[in-house]
């Protein structure tokens, strides 16, 4: 290393390009170091300390918090979060892929359609979840309409169950699948499909054997962008699930609020993070084999 101030030049140390690169990378590297790695280190330290009497942390150092995370009770909570997040991700993909494909192939109004996908972000997520609660509750629009039309005599239990939680997650994160999928599908060369057709592939077969494999990176990105926040979600399970189910996010949140057990909360969130990383790796490998 020639230049003392640059930490991030790997390829062209000392050269003009290398120095320039360091200058441009430095701000984002600093932001990452200060706002991501430093808090992460604090969380790691917290997870190894003992619970303070009223929240906070104190000595001595102990691995006890990690031992507690592997209690079957918390395993059950983690497993629940993973399957609910998995279900939401699968639904997002099933709904999002055709939508992204349609927008990518639309001849006109493509920008408008994309803006419509992003439109929900213009209002707060909390308000949108409350809107869903208004729609789904016993005296809500759906139940009232169905009762007025004499389709049902008793209100359907639409709110405060696992289905409602999954619905809320799918609704909230669908744009995150559509956008990366659109980005890959839009770049797809239409001539490849012509070629497939010339070679005798039916539209279905072309979809499965050409379009889907070529949009793999979009599918993976879309799935990860949904799965990761869903595993840690706590607002949706609380509001749409009526607090009757507990997901990992609620567990962690509880430790930092009512239970005032910061070290355990820190340990639980780190285990959750590692678990998500592991699942990501497995999915990536699998998808490489499959697609």
């Amino acid at each position: 290393m020639c230049s003392g101030e640059s930490k991030t030049n790997y390829q062209f140390p000392g050269t003009k390009v290398g120095r320039l690169r360091a200058v441009f990378v430095a701000p984002s590297a600093t932001v990452m170091a200060v706002l991501f790695f430093a808090p992460l280190l604090i969380i790691v330290a917290y997870s190894l300390l003992s619970r303070g009497p009223y929240g906070g942390v104190m000595h001595p150092w102990t691995p006890e918090n990690y031992r507690r995370v592997f209690d079957p009770l918390y395993g059950q909570v983690l497993w629940r979060s993973i399957w609910i997040a998995g279900a939401a991700t699968a639904l997002c993909l099933i709904l999002g892929f055709p939508l992204a494909l349609y927008i990518a192939r639309a001849k006109r109004h493509r920008t408008l359609l994309l803006n419509l996908v992003m439109l929900p972000f213009w209002t707060s997520f909390l308000i949108r979840i409350y809107a869903w609660m208004f729609l789904l509750r016993d005296t809500g629009l759906i139940n009232t309409a169905l009762q007025e039309l004499h389709v049902i005599s008793q209100p359907l239990p639409l709110l405060f169950n696992t289905g409602a939680v999954i619905l809320g997650l799918v609704y909230g994160y669908l744009p995150f699948t559509v956008l990366p999928l659109y980005a890959t599908l839009e770049k797809l060369d239409p001539e490849l499909l012509d070629a497939a057709e010339d070679l005798g592939a039916s539209p279905w077969s072309a979809l499965w054997r050409v379009t889907v494999p070529l949009s793999r990176s979009g599918i993976i990105a879309g799935c990860l962008l949904v799965f990761i926040p869903c595993v840690g979600a706590y607002l949706t399970p609380d509001l749409m699930g009526g607090g009757k189910t507990v997901m990992a996010g609620n567990l962690v949140q509880n430790q930092f609020t009512t239970a005032r057990d910061w070290p355990f909360g820190a340990a639980a969130s780190l285990v959750l993070m590692l678990l998500v990383l592991a699942i990501m790796q497995i999915l990536r490998r699998r998808s490489e084999e499959l697609l």
Binding site: V77, L239, N250, N254, T257, R260
Partner: protein, 341 residues
């Protein structure tokens, strides 16, 4: 630069600074706890600026001020948080000489259990946990035990709060809401798990709209929130369960870290003025701990037995206390088990 303008700016600098150094006070309170005129009137009278913000949970405020340099001057912890905050040396010991309106407090708040000499806090608002219900139900829920019957077609909610759910279970068992006894807590947990299939959900304040709309018929609820619901729907009523129930009070405290203690004392004393406290209670429909203020309320509100239960009812109430870490941990574990069941 023109010399005259230069001289003017040099002379004007210090002047602008003194003008800019207005007195400031930072107040962090619960939502719905001051009237629209409270803060502007204080600013006008005491020539200061108030930075006012609100929070929604007692834990939030503790977590924020725990560092000791939160930047707030006056906060409003619940009764069970006064002792922890005092033990963490976060609170300023109050000088009663400077709180001339302290004698306006209701007698039972002049020596409250959580701070008998009012050394650390001034009680502000109070309430209790009971049952908000629709008068249309066939069985009037007068006891916690009623919430374990299937008379309400699963249209029952409990608060999404472990202390409140354990409180109801423990009271039903004839125990203290602050119980730390593992055997009692275990029985309370089993009781809550048995109740779960009968419940629509665990919801806190947000259930209010659903009770008004008629989705939920019976809800464990705080009296103050229930009162607002009852003001909006004539078919609702509130009961203080026969087995006993939880009481709570929020208190004004000056943080030890405060750099504006003089103004903070003025603010506490201002809030204790009967006219000020009455305006808040009237506009926000809360229950003031200020006896002088209560006298100023309209007859109907002064005699409101939901906001101001009778002495006979209050005898069944029990104050929440700060629980030791060991107990907190058992309760959290059981709470997770209830939620995961």
């Amino acid at each position: 630069m023109n010399r005259r303008i230069f001289l003017l700016s040099v002379g004007g600098g210090p002047l602008a600074c003194t003008l800019g150094r207005e007195r400031r006070l930072n107040v962090y309170n619960w939502e719905n706890y001051v009237a629209s005129s409270t803060i502007p009137n204080f600013e006008r009278e005491f020539q200061c600026r108030v930075r006012y913000a609100t929070y929604g949970s007692a834990e939030e405020i503790l977590a924020k001020v725990m560092s000791g340099n939160s930047g707030w001057d006056v906060v409003f912890p619940s009764n069970s948080f006064v002792r922890p905050m005092r033990e963490l040396a976060l609170l300023e010991r109050l000088d009663h000489q400077r709180l001339t309106n302290l004698d306006q407090l209701e007698a039972r708040f002049r020596a409250p259990k959580w701070d008998p000499l009012l050394e650390w806090c001034v009680p502000y608002m109070h309430s209790a946990t009971g049952i908000l219900y629709s008068k249309s139900v066939s069985r009037t829920p007068l006891a916690w035990a009623d919430l374990w019957t299937d008379s309400y077609q699963r249209r029952v909610t409990m608060l999404d709060d472990s202390a409140e759910v354990f409180g109801a279970c423990l009271k039903r068992m004839g125990c203290s809401i602050n119980s730390g006894d593992p055997a009692e807590l275990k029985r309370a947990r089993d009781m809550a798990v048995r109740q779960k299939p009968l419940l629509r959900a665990y919801l806190s304040e947000e259930v209010r709209d659903q009770v008004i709309a008629g989705d939920v018929l019976v809800a464990q609820m705080w009296a103050q929130v229930a009162q607002v619901a009852m003001d909006n729907a004539a078919n609702l009523a509130f009961s203080f369960p026969t087995e006993g129930f939880a009481l709570y009070a929020d208190n004004c405290c000056i943080l030890r870290e405060s750099k504006h203690k003089d103004l903070a004392y003025e603010f506490l004393n201002y809030l204790l003025r009967p006219q000020v406290a009455a305006a808040i209670a009237m506009e926000m429909r809360t229950a003031t701990a200020n006896a002088g203020a209560r006298q100023l309320l309209p007859e109907a509100q002064r005699r409101d037995i939901v906001l101001y239960p009778t002495a006979e009812t209050l005898a069944r109430g029990e104050w929440f206390e700060a629980l030791p870490g060991r107990v907190q941990r058992i309760r959290d574990r059981y709470w997770t088990e209830i939620k995961a069941a």
